[in-house]
Amino acid sequence: MGFWLELAASGLITGGIYAVVAIGLNLQYGLMRIMNISHGEFLMLGAYLTWLAYTVLGINPLASLLPVAVALFLLGLIVYALCFRRIARTAPSVEVIEARSLLVGFGLMFLVQNAAYLAWGADLRGYSFLAEPVEIAGARFMSNRLVVFAFAVGLSLVMLAVLRWTLIGKAVRAMMQSPAGAQLVGIDTTVLHPVVFGAGLALAGVAGGLLSMVYEISPSMGEPYTVTALIVITLGGLGSALGSLLGGFILGLVEAFGMHFTSPSLKMLLSYAVLIGVLLARPRGLFSR
């Protein structure tokens, strides 16, 4: 394939993994300014559910993705009703919503992580799925990573399409632009908010399910992914679905090339340097609205 293309492909695939993790968080923040710092914990739940389905019931992880999404969507509705609805109702300003939802997010993070420790123990778990290499144009890739990449792109495109062309997508975009205006034209936030929150959690769960095919899982696996998601959506522009897809790719490419030219130890430095650089030039991210 050519060395550089292969390196780029490797970076894009890793970037796809980053992007798929970020989609759900972006939705929640973009619409509701909820900085869900417990995002990674729901990703972790999705991973465990998929692992359980595979090892106990023998269900193909790809087939589990839909039930996991549904389960986490329903969980999202409950979590929203219990934890976030009140904030939206009682907070005097958007900044306050951000601040309080951040705190609630911390609480959820402790809660969900500890519950996972109790339920499944701290040991690393994992399973092997699609772990065979596949050859494309002379370069070899792991099948499961390719699958994750495909889903990342697919889900992002679906998300973009939904937001642009469906009625509910338009309602969501209207709400992102002007909450008051949206309500004036009859868009019901009391329905839309929980649905979007649930969708965000469902996407986190799907990301977790996909990741469980590639990496090992543990109750503490969520936090690093939350961090990655935050970087990706900040880089791409908060609220922009296209931004988080491209942001993920950029991050993956920077890491892949950075690792080759310098050393893996410096990859984090490079990633952050890129982030800071981008934010200096474009303070609202690359593709912000």
């Binding site: 701290a122 690792m259 984090m268």
Partner: protein, 394 residues
């Protein structure tokens, strides 16, 4: 009304006092510890260490209690979560040693946490037998109350170097994690390889939590070394295994330090895939009837296998403590002296300490073979033949 309550109270108090004095001789031995139940250290601690602590206390109590110079007393474990934080480790042991005044302590998991406890152990006189702490720096502290059970890096790396030399391996590539562990192992490896004349053609390091090492592996593959050594932690061990398989990197020797000894490595990657992979290990249930008994008991109690490296050291440490208390009682100074001055029988063989280091257990190389992590070098300690060269990834 008040008088009746008063009488009830006094009667209860007298009864309690009578009962207390009857049981006073049988007050339990309190053994305290802090260990990671949450946080980054928890994955290791909950496989290798705490399950052994709990199982040991249960076994001891089932047999009537811990033998203290002839008298049996029940063991009560006083354990807390240290949340993988050094400050919490320090504070908890301060509590255990000075407020709770426990009889004995068990160490936490990992080099960092053990460093944190060492000054306290010396200050308050509590011996600690550590199964998950390694490094010259630790032993360099010359703490008389600290005993390291694991074989130190120089031993394990020398064993690897000897094995490679015996198979006429000429070149090797090495990657290591950017941590004290990785650095010390890397340093020991470089010395050992130089001594045996093995040329290191590539050396790279990477940060903890890396998610993709394929570019590094490809670079190494291009250099075609005979042996590949990853001085890695479990997540990276899994990663390099999967990615080496993906790019069909098939060196004659594939060694990944930590994580290979965990049963989940074989279970997640598949027994066929891991066939021939080498790593840090010390034992398996085939070594002796005692080892098999320990293995079976662990599986029965925890529904999971112990790991093939430090789990056994953890159990050995508890055996040593048990034997020391039997002879020296609960005078902690006496216990420490007894541990420092004697040789013990444990499931990993005889153990004697010199300056806090276990000088008896030899450095070994282990290898997955037929679904078990066999000890394959040195020959006198081997539990099975070695596979060389490593079969291609399946």
């Amino acid at each position: 009304m008040a008088r009746r309550t008063g009488i009830k109270f006094v009667t209860a108090a007298l009864l309690a006092a009578a009962l207390a004095s009857a049981f006073a001789q049988d007050a339990p031995i309190r053994i305290g510890y802090a260990i990671a139940r949450t946080g980054p250290w928890a994955a290791g601690a909950q496989v290798t260490q705490e399950p052994n602590y709990i199982m040991w206390a249960e076994q001891v109590n089932a047999a009537g209690g811990l033998n203290v110079k002839g008298k049996k007393r029940k063991v009560e474990l006083v354990g807390f979560d240290d949340r993988s934080e050094a400050e919490t480790v320090v504070r908890t042991y301060e509590k255990l040693m000075t407020s709770d005044k426990v009889d004995l302590i068990l160490p936490p998991w990992g080099t960092g946490a053990n460093f944190a406890v060492m000054p306290l152990a010396q200050k308050h006189g509590y011996p600690m037998l550590s199964p998950t702490a390694t490094g010259r720096r630790l032993l360099g502290m010359k703490n008389p109350y600290f005993f390291a059970l694991l074989q130190q890096p120089d031993r394990m790396m020398s064993a690897l170097a000897e094995f490679l030399k015996a198979r006429n391996v000429g070149t090797a590539a090495m990657i290591h994690v950017d941590e004290l562990f990785g650095l010390e192992q890397a340093g020991a490896l470089e010395e050992a390889f130089k001594e045996k004349g093995i040329r290191i053609v590539e050396k790279k390091s990477y940060p903890i939590g890396v998610k993709d090492l394929a570019p590094v592996l490809k670079d190494i593959q291009a250099k075609n070394p005979d042996a590949f050594v990853a001085l890695s932690y479990p997540p990276d061990t899994f990663l390099v295994t999967g990615q080496a398989k993906a790019i069909a990197f098939n060196p004659k020797v594939f060694y990944a330090a930590v994580g290979t000894a965990f049963p989940v490595y074989r279970d997640k990657m598949g027994a066929a895939t891991v066939e021939g992979v080498m790593g840090l290990g010390t034992w398996n249930p085939k070594m002796s009837p005692a080892a098999k008994a320990y293995f079976d008991a662990h599986v029965a109690r925890w529904k999971k296998e112990p790991d093939r490296w430090a789990s056994a050291h953890a159990w050995a440490g508890l055996q040593i403590l048990q034997q020391a208390v039997e002879k020296a009682g609960l005078d902690r100074r006496a216990v420490r002296d007894y541990i420092a001055g004697n040789e013990f029988n444990t499931i990993i063989g005889k153990i004697r300490f010199r300056n806090g280091e276990n000088v008896s257990t030899p450095g070994v190389v282990s290898q997955w073979s037929g679904g078990e992590f066999e000890v394959v070098w040195p020959p006198q300690n081997a539990t099975g033949p070695s596979l060389y060269p490593k079969p291609a990834w399946k």
